[in-house]
C-alpha cells in the first residue's frame, strides 16, 4: 500500500521498484470528487462545449430530416442497388458496433484481468459503447424497408399473421446479439453510476438536481452490505459481458461469413472482426478522451499513462488486423479456389483498390508509429493517428461489404457502387447523434468513475 506520492505530470516512466500512480496532482478522496463532480456542477461549461454541442445538434437534426426523407421515399434514396444491396447502411452499422466494443472491453475484460488503470476511463468508454450501439442499431432498423412493421424483427405473436422470425438466420441472431448487448451494457453502466449519482445527490444544492439525482441514485447509501453485493454483482456482470462482447461481433461477422459469397465465406471472420472492433473502439476512446480531459480538467485522473496504455492496445490489435489481412490472401492462394482468389485480388487491384489501400495505410502502416514512445505520449499526435485508424476501419467494412458484392458470380450483373447524398448525410448525421449524446453525458453525468478511482488513489495522499 505504501505508494510514493509523485506530484508530477509524467507518470509514464517504468520504475520496477514501485507502481506508477494513476491519480496525479496529489488529489485526495475529496479532491477526486471535486474534480469530477465539478464538471457536472459548474454553472457554465467551457465555450468549446457549446460549439461542439451546437454542431452535433445540427448534424442530428440533419439525420432526423434524412430519416424522414428515407421513410417517405423508401430505401431507394440510398446508393444500394443491384448488385450491391448492402451498401453504406450496413458498413455504418458494423463500424458503429465495432466502436462500442472498446467500452465493454475496458469495463469487463480489463476488470477481470485486474488492470487498475481502467478505472479512469471506463465510465466514458462505457457511455461511448451505449451511444455507439444506438447509432449502430439505427442503421439496420431503418434499412428494413417497411418500417411500420419493424416489430417483425422480434418474436412477438401476431394477431393474424401466424408467422415467427426465422431463428436459423444470422440476421436474426444479430437482432438478439445487438439488443442484448445494448441492454446489458446499459445495466452495467447504470450500476457503475449508482454510487456516483449518490455522490452528486449528496452534493446537490438545487431542488431539481436533488430530486433527479436522488431518484436515479435509488437511495444508494454506501453501506458495507450493499457494497458487498454490489461488488459481486459487478463481477458477475463483467463475467457475463466478456463472452457477450466477443459473441456480438462474432455474430455480426456471421452476417457475412455464413453466406456463400467469395470474400465473405471465411472462418477467420469472427476473430478478425472482434480484433478490428477493439482496434477501432480504442481509437475512438482516445479520440474522445483527449479533448474531454483538456476541456473538463480531468488530466489528473485520465493521465498520459492511461492514454499510452490504450495506444499499446491499439497497436497490438492493429497488428492482429494486419495479420488477418495477410492470412486472407494466403488462404485465397492456398485454397486454390478460383473465385476466391479473384475476389481478393480484385480488392487490391480492382475498381476499389483506392479503398483497399486507404484501409491498409490507416490500419496497418500508420499505427506502427506507436512503437515510438514519443507518439504514444504526445496527446495531439495520438489523436491524429487514432482518427486515421477510425477512417481505416470504416474503409475496412466498406471494402468487405462492397467489393465482394459488386463482383459476384454473374459477370453480367457486375456494377460499381455510388453512394448518394443521403448515404453521406446519414453517416455524418450519425456522428451528430453520437456527439450529442456524448456531450450531454459529459455535462450531466460523472465522466470518470469517482468511487472506482478512489480505490486506486494513493492512500497517503489525503
Amino acid at each position: 500500500m505504501a505508494t510514493i506520492v509523485h506530484d508530477q505530470r509524467d507518470n509514464t516512466y517504468e520504475d520496477p521498484t514501485h507502481r506508477a500512480p494513476l491519480v496525479l496532482g496529489g488529489l485526495n478522496y475529496g479532491g477526486i470528487t471535486d474534480t469530477v463532480a465539478g464538471v457536472v456542477e459548474t454553472r457554465k461549461p467551457p465555450f468549446a462545449w457549446y460549439v461542439a454541442f451546437g454542431i452535433s445538434l445540427a448534424l442530428l437534426a440533419m439525420l432526423g430530416a434524412l430519416i424522414v426523407h428515407l421513410f417517405m421515399k423508401g430505401v431507394g434514396v440510398w446508393g444500394n442497388s443491384n448488385p450491391t444491396f448492402w451498401g453504406w447502411p450496413i458498413v455504418n452499422f458494423v463500424f458503429w458496433v465495432g466502436i462500442g466494443h472498446a467500452g465493454t472491453l475496458i469495463s469487463a475484460i480489463l476488470f477481470l484481468f485486474r488492470q487498475n488503470w481502467r478505472t479512469g476511463i471506463n465510465r466514458a468508454a462505457e457511455a461511448m459503447t451505449i451511444f455507439a450501439v444506438i447509432c449502430a442499431g439505427m442503421f439496420p432498423g431503418i434499412h428494413i424497408g417497411r418500417i411500420w412493421v419493424f416489430y417483425w424483427l422480434f418474436p412477438i405473436p401476431t394477431e393474424h399473421l401466424a408467422m415467427w422470425p426465422q431463428f436459423r438466420s444470422p440476421l436474426l441472431w444479430d437482432v438478439f446479439a445487438v439488443s442484448t448487448y445494448f441492454t446489458v451494457s446499459l445495466l452495467f453502466w447504470y450500476m457503475g453510476l449508482l454510487p456516483d449519482l449518490a455522490t452528486l445527490r449528496d452534493r446537490a444544492t438545487g431542488k431539481w438536481r436533488k430530486m433527479i439525482y436522488g431518484i436515479f441514485s435509488l437511495g444508494w447509501s454506501g453501506s458495507a452490505r450493499a457494497w458487498h453485493r454490489y461488488e459481486i454483482a459487478y463481477m458477475i456482470l463483467a463475467a457475463l459481458s466478456t463472452p457477450l462482447v466477443l459473441s456480438v461481433h462474432t455474430i455480426v461477422s456471421f452476417d457475412f461469413a455464413v453466406s456463400q459469397l467469395p470474400g465473405w465465406h471465411t472462418t477467420i471472420f469472427p476473430p478478425y472482426f472482434v480484433a478490428g472492433a477493439i482496434f477501432s473502439g480504442f481509437a475512438m476512446v482516445v479520440t474522445l478522451l483527449v479533448p474531454a480531459r483538456e476541456l473538463f480538467g480531468l488530466k489528473n485522473l485520465i493521465t498520459v499513462r492511461h492514454l499510452e496504455n490504450m495506444n499499446k492496445i491499439i497497436m497490438a490489435t492493429g497488428l492482429m488486423v494486419g495479420t488477418a489481412y495477410a492470412i486472407e490472401f494466403f488462404i485465397a492462394y492456398y485454397g486454390q479456389v478460383e473465385v476466391e482468389q479473384f475476389a481478393f485480388l480484385n480488392r487490391a487491384r480492382g475498381h476499389f483498390a483506392w479503398a483497399y489501400w486507404i484501409m491498409i495505410t490507416c490500419n496497418v502502416l500508420i499505427p506502427q508509429l506507436f512503437w515510438f514512445k514519443f507518439f504514444r505520449t504526445n496527446v495531439w499526435l495520438m489523436v491524429v493517428i487514432c482518427i486515421c485508424v477510425n477512417i481505416g476501419m470504416w474503409f475496412e467494412r466498406f471494402v468487405i461489404c462492397v467489393t465482394s458484392l459488386n463482383r459476384d458470380f454473374l459477370p453480367s450483373s457486375w456494377g460499381y457502387f455510388h453512394p448518394t447524398w443521403v448515404d453521406i448525410g446519414m453517416l455524418v448525421g450519425s456522428f451528430g447523434l453520437f456527439g450529442t449524446l456524448f456531450l450531454l453525458f459529459c455535462r450531466f453525468l460523472p465522466a470518470v468513475a469517482i468511487a472506482e478511482v478512489k480505490l486506486v488513489a494513493p492512500t497517503e495522499a489525503h
Binding site: L187, G222, S223, A224, H228, R229, I232, I236, A451
Partner: protein, 520 residues
C-alpha cells in the same frame, strides 16, 4: 429512548408542553471516521465488543470490512445461475415453438423449409440461446442486487444527517442500531469515540414526516382517475353498437395496398387527362389470346358441358346466342380453346359482352322465362368416362347436395326446402292481406321427382346446375365440375327411390372399393 431533538411542526396540537412528544425516534448512533483503515479497525472492535446490528458506510468498497462486520457471502450468484438456466430453457423453447413445433394451440409455429435445413438443429440455435442466457442473467444480477440491498429506498434517516453527506465523498461511518441487544446510548457513544471516531451523532427517524405531500395525493387521485378511463371505454365499447369495421390493433398484412387482378386501375390526372396503368384502364395485362391457364383447359365437352362431343364446333353452333355456354371460366380472357371459330367469336364479342352483362342481369328472371325455343343440345345420357362412379362419389354428391341444394329443393328433392316454405308463406300472406298477387314473385321450387325432371338426360341436369334455369341461379362458379357431377349422381339416386319399382342404380364401376351392396 424517544427524544425530541427539534421543534416539531405540530407541537401546538400537543396538549402538554413538558412531556416529550413522539416526533422523532432515535434508531441508532453514528460514528464518523476519516480513514478507511480506522473504519475497519473500529468495525473489528465493535464486533469483538459484541455488537451485531451495525453497518459501515463508505464512498467506495473498503476491503476487509466484510470480515470485520461478519458479513456472510451473498447468495446472489446462485440466484443468477438459477435465472440463467431458466433463460437457457426459455431460449430453446422459444425457438423450438416458433420454428419447429408441428402443432401448437395458440400462435401457431412457422415451420418453414430454408435451404432444406432441418427445422430443429441445435447449432443454428446456439447464438440466440446464448444471448437469452446472458440477457436473463444480467437482469437477474442487476435486479437481484437491488432487491437484496432493498433498493430503491428513497427515504433514509441517514440522509437527513448533514455530516453523512460525506459518506459518498471522503468520510467513513459506522452506525450501530438502537435495537442491538448490546446497545446503550452513552456507553456506545463513548466506545465509538474510544475507537477513533472523529464525531458521534444519534440517528433520528422523523416520525412527523411520514405524510405524503398534498400535491402527491392529488396527483395520485388524478392518476387513478386516468387509469379508470381504459376500462370505462372498453365497457362502453362492449355494449355499444358500432358500424365501423373491427379495430385491428396490429394490422400486419390484413389490408394490402394492391389491386385485384382484372380490376379497374386507379385514375390519376396528369395535365387534366385521366391516366391509367394501361390504356384499357385495367391494372393487369390480359393473357394472350389462345393461352390457357394451368388446369383450365376444358376441351372435354361431355365432362365440362354435359353435351356429347359432336363433330368439331357443332355443339357451339347449336347455341349461337348463348356464348356463356362455351364454359368461359373468367370472362373472355380465359376462353376455352375448343374451336377456332368460337375463339374468334368471343374475341369479337368482347367489348359488347362486357357491356351487356349488367343489362342481362337486370333483365333477370322475366327474360329468362321467355327464351325463345332453341334446339336442345345433344345432352349426354351416360356419366363421362373420366368419372369413377362409386360410393365415395355418391357420398360426395349427397354432401354437396345437402350444402347447396337442400335450402330450396329439400332433403328429399321434393322442392320443399326451408327457403321455399318461407317464401311461399310470405307470398300467400301477401295475397290474403292485400288481396293482390302483384308482389308474390316467388315461383314454387321444382320437385326433382317431377316427371318433367325425371325424364331429363343427366347432361341436362348438369347444365341446369352449372348455368341455372328459370329462376334458379347458376352454381358453376361455386361448385367444381366433379362435384356437380356428384350431385347429378345423387339426384339420379334420389329419383330412383320414387320411381315405383326400384330400378337398378346407375352403374357402379368396379373400383378399388367396390360397393357392399347396401350403398345409397
Amino acid at each position: 429512548m424517544t427524544t425530541t431533538h427539534r421543534p416539531a411542526r405540530h407541537s401546538a396540537s400537543h396538549p402538554s408542553g413538558g412531556a416529550p412528544a413522539a416526533e422523532s425516534r432515535m434508531i441508532g448512533v453514528l460514528g464518523q471516521f476519516d480513514d478507511p483503515a480506522a473504519l475497519v479497525a473500529a468495525a473489528e472492535q465493535a464486533h469483538q465488543a459484541g455488537y451485531r446490528r451495525l453497518d459501515a458506510y463508505s464512498p467506495f468498497p473498503v476491503h476487509g470490512i466484510d470480515a470485520a462486520l461478519g458479513i456472510r457471502r451473498s447468495r446472489l450468484p446462485f440466484f443468477v445461475l438459477l435465472i440463467g438456466t431458466c433463460g437457457c430453457f426459455f431460449g430453446l423453447f422459444m425457438q423450438w415453438y416458433a420454428n419447429a413445433a408441428s402443432s401448437s394451440p395458440i400462435f401457431p409455429g412457422y415451420a418453414f423449409i430454408i435451404s432444406g435445413k432441418p427445422f430443429w438443429s441445435i447449432p443454428a440455435n446456439i447464438p440466440v440461446t446464448f444471448e437469452v442466457i446472458v440477457l436473463s442473467s444480467a437482469f437477474a444480477t442487476f435486479f437481484g442486487m437491488l432487491f437484496l440491498n432493498r433498493l430503491p429506498r428513497l427515504a433514509n434517516p441517514l440522509h437527513r444527517i448533514a455530516r453523512f453527506r460525506r459518506a459518498s465523498n471522503d468520510r467513513f461511518f459506522l452506525v450501530i442500531d438502537q435495537d442491538d441487544p448490546h446497545f446503550d446510548r452513552s456507553r456506545t457513544e463513548n466506545e465509538l469515540l474510544a475507537w477513533g471516531s472523529t464525531g458521534v451523532e444519534p440517528v433520528l427517524q422523523d416520525l412527523t414526516d411520514n405524510q405524503l405531500p398534498s400535491w402527491m395525493k392529488a396527483a395520485a387521485v388524478l392518476l387513478g382517475l386516468f387509469l379508470l378511463l381504459p376500462p370505462v371505454l372498453i365497457y362502453r365499447a362492449h355494449y355499444a353498437t358500432n358500424g365501423q369495421p373491427r379495430l385491428h390493433v396490429i394490422p400486419d398484412m390484413d389490408d394490402q395496398y394492391r389491386y385485384k387482378p382484372q380490376a379497374l386501375g386507379p385514375n390519376w390526372l396528369v395535365n387534366r387527362l385521366p391516366q391509367y396503368f394501361f390504356v384499357d384502364e385495367r391494372v393487369m395485362r390480359e393473357p394472350l389470346l389462345g393461352t390457357v391457364a394451368r388446369g383450365e383447359l376444358r376441351n372435354d365437352s361431355e365432362y365440362f358441358l354435359g353435351i356429347k362431343s359432336a363433330p368439331a364446333g357443332s355443339a357451339l353452333r347449336a347455341t349461337p346466342n348463348q356464348p356463356e355456354q362455351t364454359e368461359i371460366v373468367s370472362g373472355p380472357r380465359a376462353a376455352t380453346v375448343q374451336d377456332p371459330a368460337a375463339i374468334q367469336e368471343t374475341a369479337g364479342n368482347q367489348e359488347p359482352a362486357a357491356n351487356q352483362e349488367p343489362a342481362a342481369n337486370q333483365a333477370g328472371a322475366a327474360a329468362a322465362g321467355q327464351v325463345p325455343a332453341e334446339p336442345e343440345p345433344d345432352w349426354v345420357t351416360e356419366f363421362p368416362s373420366r368419372l369413377t362412379i362409386d360410393e365415395a362419389l355418391m357420398r360426395r354428391g349427397r354432401d354437396r347436395f345437402q350444402i347447396y341444394c337442400t335450402a330450396c329443393h329439400g332433403y328429399a328433392g321434393d322442392g320443399d326446402g326451408l327457403v321455399n316454405q318461407r317464401a311461399m308463406e310470405l307470398a300467400v300472406s301477401n295475397v290474403i292481406e292485400k288481396g293482390t298477387t302483384a308482389n308474390a314473385t316467388w315461383t314454387q321450387v321444382k320437385s326433382l321427382h317431377d316427371p318433367a325432371v325425371t325424364v331429363q338426360p343427366i347432361g341436362r341436369i348438369f347444365d341446369t346446375i352449372s348455368h341455372g334455369r328459370g329462376t334458379m341461379g347458376p352454381y358453376g362458379r361455386q361448385i367444381p365440375t366433379a362435384d356437380r357431377w356428384a350431385i347429378v349422381l345423387y339426384v339420379k339416386a334420389l329419383q330412383a327411390t320414387r320411381a315405383g319399382e326400384p330400378k337398378p342404380e346407375p352403374p357402379v364401376t368396379e373400383g378399388n372399393n367396390p360397393p357392399n351392396g347396401q350403398g345409397g
